[in-house]
Symmetry: C2
Subunit: 130 residues, 2 copies
DNA sequence: TATAGTGTATTAGTAGAATAGTACACAGCT
DNA sequence: AGCTGTGTACTATTCTACTAATACACTATA
């Protein structure tokens, strides 16, 4: 499992770990049951304090992505793994509804909203490649 | 201009002011050119330090919502409705970014996300007419 | 020009998040 | 039991966002 940490990105280190693990799980590059690097090992690899990794794993456990076994290790949760596409869409549906409601509230139509999304996507991609 | 502040909401006071003024402008309840309460007056009314209101106004000025005249007062920017629309889109941009990020984490592409939005929109409309 | 009302600037205090240091507790194995 | 590797708990430090206190500068108007 290879992660990339940007030290001065504004984004907290533990959050970067959480995000990247989430992503790896979502696209199936981390399989259910698979063991994740021990806290100290990952900490040493990322040149970070073990507590920081521990916090990331704690957050991932809260969200059901991983399962920790005290004294044994940390493993990708069976339930939290490459969720069926249907399930993923279900999760997004809530957020989508919130966005649509907000847009309606601001008198912004669906087409304009879609244009906005395309534009922001482009923007986010540019930001990523800098 | 009536604002409601929740002291222990996690949301910073200045941000609450910004959001509510933005909203009032977006729905036309604050017209271009209209004067906004002086910093000290609003501060006293909200039981808050003048600097906190000043910061909110500063943010609003940065975003082009209001225009400050040193020694005179603070006024809703008279750029008119096109700007208001711009501001509304700006508000939505934050939410859009959050949605796009979440989608990325779930490995859902932009096109699928847009399809989802269309579908949810339809669903919401149906719900409304029942 | 005097004065009252406005925004501005500088500094300081407070709280919380993020990270680190260190010692502890559990599991698995020999 | 003892050892090694794992997660955990507690504390301290650092940094930043937020808010506040206070003095300053500009504008309008009598």
């Amino acid at each position: 499992m290879h992660l990339r940490i940007s030290s001065n990105d504004g984004v907290p280190i533990y959050q970067q770990i959480v995000n990247q693990v989430k992503y790896l799980v979502a696209c199936g590059r981390l399989a259910p049951g698979e063991e994740v690097p021990p806290i100290r090992v990952l900490a040493e690899r990322l040149l970070v304090n073990p507590n920081t990794v521990a916090r990331a794993y704690l957050e991932l456990e809260r969200e059901g992505i991983v399962l920790k076994r005290h004294g044994s290790g940390t493993y990708i949760s069976d339930a939290g793994s490459p969720l069926a596409r249907k399930e993923r869409l279900k999760i997004l549906a809530e957020r989508a509804d919130a966005l649509l409601t907000e847009a309606h509230h601001l008198d912004i139509g669906l087409d304009d909203l879609i244009d906005l999304l395309k534009q922001r996507q482009k923007h986010l991609n540019q930001a990523k490649h800098e």
